[in-house]
Symmetry: C2
Amino acid sequence: RVDGKRLWDALMALAQIGATEKGGVKRLALTDLDRQGRDLVVGWGKAAGMTVTIDQIGNVFMRRAGTNDALPPVMTGSHIDTQPTGGKFDGNYGVLAGLEVVRTLNDHGIRTEAPIEVAFWTNEEGSRFVPVMMGSGVFCGAFSLETAYAAKDVDGKTVGEELERIGYKGTQVPGDHPIGAYFETHIEQGPVLEDADKVIGVVPAVMGLSWYDCTVTGMEAHAGPTPMGLRRDAMQVAAQIIPEVVAIANRYPPYGRGTVGMMQVFPNSRNVIPGEVKFSIDLRNVNDELLNKMHEEISAFVENTAAASGLSIKLERVSYYPPCPFHPDVVGAVRSATAKLGYSAMDVVSGAGHDAIYAARLAPSGMIFVPCKDGISHNEIEDAQPGHLEAGCNVLLHAMLERAKV
Amino acid sequence: RVDGKRLWDALMALAQIGATEKGGVKRLALTDLDRQGRDLVVGWGKAAGMTVTIDQIGNVFMRRAGTNDALPPVMTGSHIDTQPTGGKFDGNYGVLAGLEVVRTLNDHGIRTEAPIEVAFWTNEEGSRFVPVMMGSGVFCGAFSLETAYAAKDVDGKTVGEELERIGYKGTQVPGDHPIGAYFETHIEQGPVLEDADKVIGVVPAVMGLSWYDCTVTGMEAHAGPTPMGLRRDAMQVAAQIIPEVVAIANRYPPYGRGTVGMMQVFPNSRNVIPGEVKFSIDLRNVNDELLNKMHEEISAFVENTAAASGLSIKLERVSYYPPCPFHPDVVGAVRSATAKLGYSAMDVVSGAGHDAIYAARLAPSGMIFVPCKDGISHNEIEDAQPGHLEAGCNVLLHAMLERAKV
Ligand SMILES: NC(=O)NCCC(=O)O
Ligand SMILES: NC(=O)NCCC(=O)O
């Protein structure tokens, strides 16, 4: 069993770096604070006897040798960068749970056959630099190192420069690093476990997502002198599409999701009929066939709305991640470790993307969720219970031991 | 008959001051450009033999003596400040049409019994300083000089300071200036005249307006992991209210107007369910009883939507101008001048507020509309035909002569 207090103390110590007044953490990728966080975790890893490798995109791998170092490592990890208004647990928990596993193995003098590795991936959040899940994305070949290096923050600083500056541009070629199996522990970022009063979420899959920008173009005109019948009101047409996003999600239960999270109105003046309204659409489902049907339905609805209203509407897909089913062996290892330890558990499909979906392209992978308060994340008030974090870490320990063999 | 070319040349000369690349004008109230514009118009007024009075809020009155100066003047006017993306005609036309009337009277050596005055009111647009229609509002006692002086622009500069700086803080007490009748010529700012192919709009009234801020408060949460049934999505609830704004307007034809022109979404991120959506509602009608019914309907609808959705919704009225019927004598003078001159004409209720609604609180008032291209104003592409501007000015001349007596 892991030491829950030691895990909690490590989380709280790392949360000091970039701590915000409201109790959250702001430690954006590749800033000085990210360097301080990385240095602290790397120091802990070395103190626990691990050797450290850094690749060219700044992914860090901390390795505890196995009795048979020819075997590919059993890896766990996550990320330590945060959202601008981030919390103490998102990502950090997955990394420090891995460290706690190694510390526990050290305490008990347990040797594993396969090596154990604890990784943290660069810029998972995508807040400072897009695309999101950058380090794991380059690692698995989803996009190139050059693309990642060229990404700029709002001040025009690039990932390449910033990696160099903080001293985390390593030499290993990304992906040139075998993985035997990959586990990631994470707070759920949703309300399902809390709602069902369960401690462990076994994650069979991650939902696929389709992101769109929808732009309705009408004609801006004065709100007073323009009769209702002569208007081309982009806001009113947008308001016809917005409820349909939810209706489509509800037609594909239980994993259909539909969200309009972002909107910009032009000229955004109270006495001007909007000439242009641009908004985002986020559709998700765990089954690609269903996600595809959702895509077809929103496309058809937008087309019909354009024809009926006479306004021009552009629907542009800006991102697409297919659903990612995890490997039955890894999911099975999580399930049996949970059962062995006697924790209450349920399957929870991840609604959010994680580094594990990229790791899954290279190795059998899976995830372990623990509840977070009110399902809230990406928020300074993000919170989780020490007992739940400890439980998730115990499951990780036993699942990794099953794969790495004692 | 007025000199249409001279009127057009004056409009084009004034439009040079603050001219924009796209052919519009940016001459915000109380800027150096406003001073240049004021100086130009005042210079023209003096050259036409008028005496100039400036009041404490910077309203400028240019007076052509009558044969009986004890009579209150027959006044016309408008404003010469513009929107940030303003055009050449909005406001400027009303002032320069007045100047052209005086020039025409001078050309023909016509003396009127009552004096004739051409006024321009400070800060009608309200773009740099709120409230809108500031000069005429202070003049008629709608709000105090102190309130107006204290109004600040985004840089913290006050109306009082800026009036002083540009040399247009006069000494006359606002309102201490009798008016016999008030006429205002203006581009329609709507598509009705153009649509009906008429040259002159006789304006019987200005619509009243109710402005609201509506704030829907839900709970922000991650768009992926949060099941549809556990959401408190502020955007979806806002989208229920937006179409009702139009439905209400359509239930009170022909002058009901309903517009949602402005929206802010928090946190406005594509993968976060909106926790708060704030939007504006603009309701108008020409009849106060109907406007009041519209107010009651939106209030009830918002209340019902809050109850049905379980989200909190705040509806706050932020502005209210009652409908303003113009004086039958002044409207009649416009109507008979139009008939005498043989222009095609129709009644057009003004959907937009104008300085004339404040003048109407003190004296019999009315307005004359001319078409503007595609009904567009508050836009650099605002346009109007020289022949229409000339026609409106001829109507102004004859209507004023009827009131001022030759
Ligand atoms: N974990 C997480 O927030 N990923 C960002 C991409 C997504 O919205 O799923
Ligand atoms: N003329 C004009 O645009 N007035 C502003 C107030 C309104 O929206 O009616």
